[in-house]
């Protein structure tokens, strides 16, 4: 048995953060709480990335996920839910099946993790931003460009969807406004 190192403490702390917050997302009855707990999970994941030396990925995770996606989700929550009624904003159904199944799945996966002979290599955690950059502009250039096209399409698609909704709403704009 090896001894407890500071690194191990940090890692297990991050694990606790990720898993604990994710449990909250899965089970909290208040959707606002769930959204804020998701922040913890995402930030913890970013920490895990940093821990392994993927610093660019970690920072990108915080910037895009926390700064962008989470804010979008919060928008969705605030625009659609009866926020005033926080206790009932996030109902669940079938927890009696879902939770045991989830536990079973996790147990099975962990079993596989520990019984599979992974072909490990000697890993060195050297933080490096250059290598992903080179990969993006070298080997994965086409995918990189395609990703930008996908983002553009998402942008345009979201606008199209929202515009159509606005048009459809125009006759009863007043009542719609009152409901939100």
């Amino acid at each position: 048995m090896s001894t407890v190192t500071p690194a191990a403490i940090v890692f297990f702390g991050l694990c606790a953060l990720v898993v604990g917050c994710a449990g909250g997302v899965a089970l909290s009855r208040n959707i606002l709480h769930a959204a804020f707990l998701l922040l913890g999970t995402l930030a913890g994941t970013a920490g895990l990335y940093l821990f392994i030396g993927a610093d660019f990925l970690g920072v990108a995770q915080i910037l895009i996920y926390v700064g962008g996606i989470l804010v979008l989700l919060l928008f969705a929550v605030l625009l659609t839910s009866k926020v005033g009624d926080t206790r009932l904003s996030n109902p669940s159904a079938g927890l009696q099946f879902g939770v045991p199944l989830g536990v079973l799945l996790a147990a099975g996966l962990v079993y596989l993790v520990f019984t599979t002979p992974w072909p490990l290599t000697e890993a060195v955690a050297t933080p490096m931003t250059g290598r992903p950059g080179e990969a993006f502009l070298g080997e994965y250039l086409l995918l990189f460009e395609l990703a930008s096209v996908v983002l553009l399409m998402a942008l345009v698609g979201a606008m199209v969807l929202a515009r159509r909704a606005v048009k459809g709403r125009s006759p009863d704009a007043a009542s719609g406004g009152a409901a939100t």
């Binding site: 159904a93 079938g94 099946f97 879902g98 199944l101 989830g102 079973l104 799945l105 099975g108 996966l109 079993y111 596989l112």
Partner: protein
């Protein structure tokens, strides 16, 4: 196997050869697919620009390629442009590859340059035809096929081009397909060529089979710098040539001897190959007995007759023999057949040409006759002379055809009612003053073909006569060959000047007021070709006896090195050459004088001609009836075929149909039974199954809740089950 050596063809790579046929193909595609709308929207000039542009680019590239070729040392004059592998089946490997050597260089220059001139001429000749776009598409397609034929590196590619030119010939002969006779002429050309192509294919397969005996490895080591040389069955002409030239230290050509030693049913294989290939060649080049299509092919527009049926396609057979000279020289028997058939065709064609009244038919039989001369040349082993005559013939015959076309054009447009046959010599006459340029061009062509020493035809034809006399390879005495050829030459001069005098003098033209010279696009081309018909002879083939050394012979020497080594020519006194040349000139002059005396002024000689026609009634009828070969085919092949097929049709109706009807009745009876079974037993079972499925479906439909959660739960259960299974098994 002991060390081998041989005369291996050195070659250089080229990247431009494939572009030479590409441009005509593009032109054909553009004009063929969207020519109608191009012509409707942008006018004829756009169609002409596309076709002429393609030809111009192709000619330019051909000239560049030939310049690159001549820059190489003579023995290494071979450009190879390999694109990609097309086909690999067993021992057969076919590349899309183009090759240029001195022989194909001569050919592509003829094709692209004469082709371009004829395209220019066609812009004038076809100016009023509504389907001009189609004409130019076919014409470009023809040039493409012809270029593939001569540039193709392997016999496979050459066969592709060979079939391609046949197709274009068919399309162009039947260009005015509204006229049933013209459509029939196209069909006749196509079917006659099929007979020949069958021979070609059989020849190729025999050759391919003869080359392989299953024991030879695909390559052998040699002492040559290149090292390994491919041997065994192959269709690549260059590799075939290399294989044939391999010999051991004792000078024994191992592979050539093995091939020459093979027999089929006791007959030498190479003789059969030569005969089969010559059947194909006879079909394409209109030699006896497959010449029947060429006179009918004159139904096509005149530029087509000039390009395809005089200058290029019909000479493909000569090209093929020249290209495979290293094989043909191994079989003197096959060469004897070729020379014999060539000579017979020459005499035969000339005799018929002297009696025809349709100017294009005269020229068609003249072409057949001249092709016979070429085959005589290659048959006696004088390959370069055959190619030389091919070249000069391309110039003067194209000139003659186009001049005839110009005259026809003039007569046709003077006759608005369309009541007279514009091609008939009896409706021409007296055109010399009305169409001076056309007249001059036709005269130049006649002088050239008749063999007066001032023009090209003399140099090539006289060389053929000389080679025929001195040859010691073919199993016929040279003197006999020479005598018949000389007689034919005299006939040639007679019938050509006969057509000349009948068309341009003879009588006063009744429609003189309406006939005028053709447009500049046509007369310019006539001028160029007329000049070519004069200068190409002395320029390329200044006779040895006159202190020259024919340039063309030196240029082509590397191609025919092996075949020339096999050819045998006897040694004769130098003075004999001059005697023979004198004889040729005398004979030609006699032919001209006879034609002039008889046809210069018909009013004076009509009665005498008619008298002779009566006196030699039978002979005249036979010759004018083209020796009734068409009729013989009709009675010997077509009629029996029709009878047999009618007999078969009767058998079909009365015997086969009755059996079929009986079978049908039995089937119906069985089907009735079957139908009952179907309705009551099979349908019942099917309905039962569907009822069960329907009821089950109604119960199962509740699983479809439409709620994502339930679906995800289901998926999770599946995944967990999989993990559990792997747990227990794994």
């Amino acid at each position: 196997m002991e060390s081998l050596t041989g005369d291996i063809q050195a070659f250089s790579r080229s990247q431009i050869l494939w572009l030479i046929p590409l441009f005509p193909l593009l032109g054909a595609l553009i004009n063929g697919l969207c020519g109608r709308s191009v012509q409707a929207r942008f006018g004829r000039r756009a169609v002409h620009a596309i076709a002429l542009g393609a030809m111009g680019l192709s000619s330019l590239l051909a000239i560049v390629a030939v310049c690159k070729l001549t820059a190489l040392p003579p023995a290494a004059r071979f450009l190879l442009d390999r694109r990609w592998n097309m086909l690999s089946v067993g021992a057969l490997h076919v590349d899309l590859a183009f090759a240029l050597d001195p022989l194909s260089a001569v050919m592509i220059l003829i094709i692209t340059l004469v082709g371009t001139l004829i395209h220019v001429y066609s812009t004038g000749y076809m100016a009023r035809d509504p389907a001009g776009w189609r004409f130019f598409a076919y014409l470009n397609l023809f040039v493409f096929s012809m270029l593939v034929l001569v540039l193709g590196d392997s016999l496979f590619l050459m066969f592709f081009g060979w079939e391609g030119v046949g197709l274009c010939s068919y399309l162009l002969i039947g260009f005015w397909y509204g006229d049933l006779a013209k459509a029939r002429a196209g069909k006749k050309a196509f079917i006659t060529n099929r007979v020949g192509d069958w021979g070609f294919l059989v020849g190729l397969l025999l050759l391919f089979r003869g080359l392989g005996d299953g024991r030879v490895p695909p390559t052998v080591d040699t002492d040559i710098a290149g090292g390994r040389v491919a041997v065994g069955p192959m269709l690549n002409v260059r590799e075939l040539h290399d294989q044939m030239s391999l010999h051991d230290a004792g000078g024994k050509h191992v592979f050539a001897a093995a091939l020459a030693g093979k027999t089929v049913l006791g007959i030498p294989l190479l003789f059969l190959v030569g005969l089969a290939l010559f059947l194909g060649i006879a079909g394409k080049s209109a030699q006896l007995p497959l010449h029947v299509w060429l006179p009918d092919a004159m139904a096509g527009p005149t530029p087509v007759s000039a390009l395809i049926h005089a200058a290029t396609m019909v000479t493909a057979g000569v090209y093929l023999i020249a290209r495979l000279s290293f094989l043909f020289c191994l079989s003197p028997h096959a060469l004897t057949v070729i020379a014999g058939v060539g000579l017979a065709t020459a005499l035969f064609g000339a005799a018929i040409a002297a009696t025809q009244t349709d100017i294009k038919k005269v020229l068609a039989y003249s072409t057949i006759s001249q092709l016979g001369f070429m085959f005589l040349a290659v048959g006696v082993g004088a390959y370069w002379v055959g190619v030389f005559h091919l070249l000069t013939h391309a110039c003067f015959k194209a000139c003659l055809f186009l001049a005839a076309g110009s005259a026809i054009h003039g007569v046709e447009h003077a006759d608005d009612a369309g009541t007279i046959d514009a091609q008939d010599l009896r409706n021409m006459g007296g055109l010399a003053a009305l169409m001076p340029k056309t007249h001059l061009a036709y005269l130049l062509g006649c002088v050239s073909i008749a063999g007066f020493p001032v023009a090209a035809g003399f140099y090539s034809k006289d060389e053929i006569l000389w080679k025929a006399f001195t040859q010691a390879q073919v199993f016929v005495p040279g003197g006999v060959l020479w005598a018949i050829a000389l007689l034919t030459a005299g006939l040639t001069a007679f019938y050509m000047f006969r057509s000349y005098y009948l068309a341009f003098w003879a009588r006063a033209q009744p429609a003189a007021a309406h006939i005028h010279e053709s447009p500049a696009s046509m007369t310019t081309v006539l001028a160029i070709l007329g000049a070519a018909a004069v200068v190409t002879g002395p320029l390329l083939g200044w006779p040895e006896a006159w202190g020259g050394h024919p340039w063309l012979e030196r240029f082509l020497a590397p191609v025919f090195a092996d075949a020339d080594a096999a050819a045998r020519f006897g040694a004769h006194a130098h003075v004999l050459v001059f005697v023979f040349q004198l004889a040729s000139v005398v004979v030609a002059t006699a032919g001209w004088a006879a034609a002039r005396g008889l046809y210069r002024d018909l009013a004076r000689t009509e009665a005498r001609l008619e008298g002779w026609r009566q006196a030699f009634f039978r002979l005249h009828r036979v010759v004018q009836g083209k020796f009734f070969i068409d009729e013989a085919y009709e009675t010997m092949i077509l009629v029996p075929m029709r009878d047999i097929s009618q007999g078969l049709a009767w058998a079909d109706r009365h015997i086969v149909d009755r059996i079929v009807r009986l079978a049908a009745r039995a089937t119906r009876g069985i089907a009735t039974l079957d139908g009952w079974f179907d309705r009551h037993i099979v349908d019942g079972a099917v309905n039962a199954v569907s009822t069960v499925a329907f009821a089950g479906g109604r119960r199962l439909v509740r699983l479809q809740t439409g709620r994502i959660n339930n679906y995800v739960l289901g998926m999770t259960i599946g995944v967990v089950a999989l993990v559990a299974v792997s747990w227990f098994i794994g």
